[in-house]
Structure formats: structure tokens, C-alpha cells
Subunit: 228 residues, 2 copies
């Protein structure tokens, strides 16, 4: 067997959506050469655990959260991406509604917090590059998978999903076509509840029907929203 | 620094298109517990080389080929995917026109060959799963990136690109709409040459204009072919 001096780690790009902003989950590092710098949650893979188990564990340990939506993003393996020792990191993309969890920094994390994606602090290692890749994946994917709903409350006014798409894509969308298209799929249900916003008009609440979407998907249905 | 007993490898899913068949590049393993079994070309990453350098080197060593098109596919890291020792493998997807290279098995490969995708031999490790992931990526990607041309001769009759899409997608396509759409992009040029097929009618040859495509792409052009 070859002698090799490379370690294997996982990192998580976790996005949340709060107050009309796309936010990123970061921890402040407690140890190492980049101590006190903000970084993506993550760490070394243990010998006996699969990659997705490792990223789930690291997220739980360092930030206190457990994700419903997590997918493999890309693997970063440039020789000098970490100056202490060679580390290949398998990055994951996660989505969460920040209101559903209380953040708790622990183990390797001094602090944990949400940061607006357009006002990030300087990040450790090549984490800026990993975040860029995560954002690109999210921007592409919301057009062909209804993953945006992972970021919202179970029930939400229609304007929230509109704003979410505009925020993630960082451009205005044709609201009328967007609504028409999204409603035509039959996977978004009107409830009989009304929101009571602090400002603005009350609005009917909607709910994403996951069960119906899964059933449709099995029959070959493709979710797709196009933006000019 | 954590003690970890995991090795890092790369594997390549390389597709070629010959005689109206999508083919996969495989090597017969010279060593190890799965000796004499067919497998994807690949091997351990050296300490001083980046991941894409590693996969390029392994392909050259084991099969004699160098790819113009190579992208990272997915990372496979299940604990027991290799029974000798834990290996995390970063898989790559490559495309090539098999006519452009002479295959030469060397180093860890006893033999090297092309196999029709629907008649593969039993593969070592979890390579069947890696191939499935590669095929899925190729099927998705040819709809929104003109990567199919990597598989063809520089000049080809129009029916070749039609057949290529039908073969990869494994279903018939609406030939008239396909041609109209593809020609409308202005990235496919008619040459003044005529093919002289052994059977069938002579046909005008076409050429993909990579330079023009790159220029259009920079201006925000999106290649997209939809299949009902």
C-alpha cells in the first residue's frame, strides 16, 4: 500500500434566509494557525464514519444544528489549501430555516453565527472559494428543484418565496409569471390562514406539499422555473 | 493533528462514442484483491499533486490517453467501499473521441479497452455506482453544455450529433426540432466538405465552432436543448 500524507475532511456551506437576506453559517476557529478566524463548520472524517455522517456530526458538534437538506457539493484538494498539512475536503451544501434551531458553539468552535452573504468576514483557508461554489450551486439548483422551501417556514405568504428567489438570484424576477408557473405545478397549497405582518398588508399563507411533489417526481414530473 | 487511516484516490469515468454506441474506458487490474477484474482507471493521489493532476497522470499511465474534457464528478467515501483499506475516491468525468488515441495498458493495468455502456463486464469495488453517476451527469449536461462535440470527429455529418444525443439519452429525439434549435445558436458551421460513408448517402460535414461558443458564452449565452 502506498505511503500517503493526506488527511480527509468535510466542510459545510449552510445557507439560511432571514429578514430578506441570504445568510451563511460560520464558526470562529478555536485552534490552529487560523485561530480566531471565521470558517465553515467542518472537520476531519473519522475512520469508521461515512462522509455524510461526518459532516452531520461536525455540524451538530460545532453549531448545534441538524439539517434536513444536505447534498455533496464539490471536493477541494489543492496541495497548499491548508498550510499545516495537506487536507482534501469534501464540501457539502446545506439549507436550513435559521428560526428552527438555536445555535450553540462547541468543540472546535469559539463562536457560531449567521452572516449576510454580501457582508462576510474574511474566511480561513480557501473557504471563500468553497462558499462561491455553494452559492453557484444554489443559484442553479433552485431553478430545477424546489429546494427553496427548505429555507422558509412551513407556512408563508407568497411574497416570501418571491423574495427568496430574487435574493438568491440577486436580480428581479417577473412576479406574475413566477406565481403563475409555481402555482401551475400544484405543489404549493393555499391554506385558510392569514399572516399578520408587523408592516404591510395581511396575506394568505401557503404551504409546500412535499408528499405531492415526491409523488409527481416519481411519475416523471420536472420542476422548472426559467428566468430570462 | 488527528490520527486518520484513510487514503485518497481518484477514478475516471471516461466515455467515448464509437459505431453509434456510448462506450466506457476500462482497465483490467494487475494487482490487489480484485486482480484481473475490470475497473475504472485511477489510483492514489501523490502528496505533491493536485487532484486533477493525479487523475490526468493515472489516465496517461494506465491507458495512454490524455483528455481534453475532464470535470470533477462526485466523491465516493463509504467506509467499506474497498475491502483492503479505507479509500475515499474523487471521481472525474472525461469525454474523448476514441479514434484520437491509441490505448496502451501500463503500470497497474494488465489490459485496457472500450466497452459498450449497455454491455459492461462486472466491475471492481463500487465502480458500477460511479459509472451510473457519470452517465447521469452526462445525460443531464449535454442538454445545457455543448460537451457532446468532444466525442465526435472535428468534422462530422449532422446525423452523427443526432445519433449521439439519442444514444446518450437512450431515447428518440424530434430530429427536426433538434436540428433547428442546434443550428439557431450559430455555433455549428457547415463546411463545404462531403462525407463518403461506406453505406448510406453522402452528407455535408459540420464543425463545432469552439471559439464562437466561448465568445457567446462570455456574453451570457446559454446553450440549451430541451427534450420532451
Amino acid at each position: 500500500m502506498i505511503s500517503q500524507n493526506i488527511k480527509v475532511a468535510v466542510d459545510a456551506v449552510v445557507f439560511g434566509y432571514v429578514e430578506r437576506q441570504l445568510q451563511l453559517l460560520l464558526i470562529k476557529q478555536k485552534y490552529g494557525s487560523e485561530k480566531n478566524k471565521w470558517a465553515l463548520p467542518g472537520g476531519f472524517v473519522l475512520d469508521h464514519e461515512d462522509l455524510d455522517t461526518a459532516v452531520t456530526r461536525e455540524l451538530k458538534e460545532e453549531t448545534g444544528i441538524t439539517l434536513a437538506y444536505l447534498e455533496q457539493l464539490y471536493t477541494f484538494g489543492a496541495v497548499k489549501r491548508d498550510n499545516r498539512q495537506r487536507v482534501v475536503s469534501i464540501a457539502y451544501l446545506g439549507l436550513i430555516n435559521p428560526k428552527k434551531f438555536k445555535l450553540t458553539a462547541s468543540t472546535d468552535a469559539l463562536e457560531v453565527g449567521w452572516f449576510a452573504i454580501d457582508a462576510l468576514p474574511p474566511l480561513a483557508f480557501d473557504h471563500q472559494e468553497i462558499v462561491a461554489k455553494g452559492l453557484e450551486r444554489l443559484q442553479n439548483k433552485i431553478s430545477y428543484k424546489p429546494i427553496g422551501f427548505e429555507l422558509l417556514n412551513t407556512e408563508f405568504p407568497f411574497s416570501n418565496i418571491e423574495n427568496l428567489y430574487q435574493t438568491i438570484l440577486n436580480k428581479p424576477i417577473d412576479r406574475r409569471n413566477f406565481r403563475k408557473k409555481l402555482m401551475s405545478f400544484g405543489i404549493l397549497e393555499e391554506t385558510d390562514k392569514i399572516s399578520k405582518p408587523e408592516s404591510g398588508r395581511p396575506a394568505k399563507l401557503f404551504r409546500f406539499n412535499t408528499k405531492k411533489y415526491k409523488a409527481l417526481e416519481q411519475k416523471g414530473f420536472h420542476f422548472e422555473i426559467k428566468f430570462a
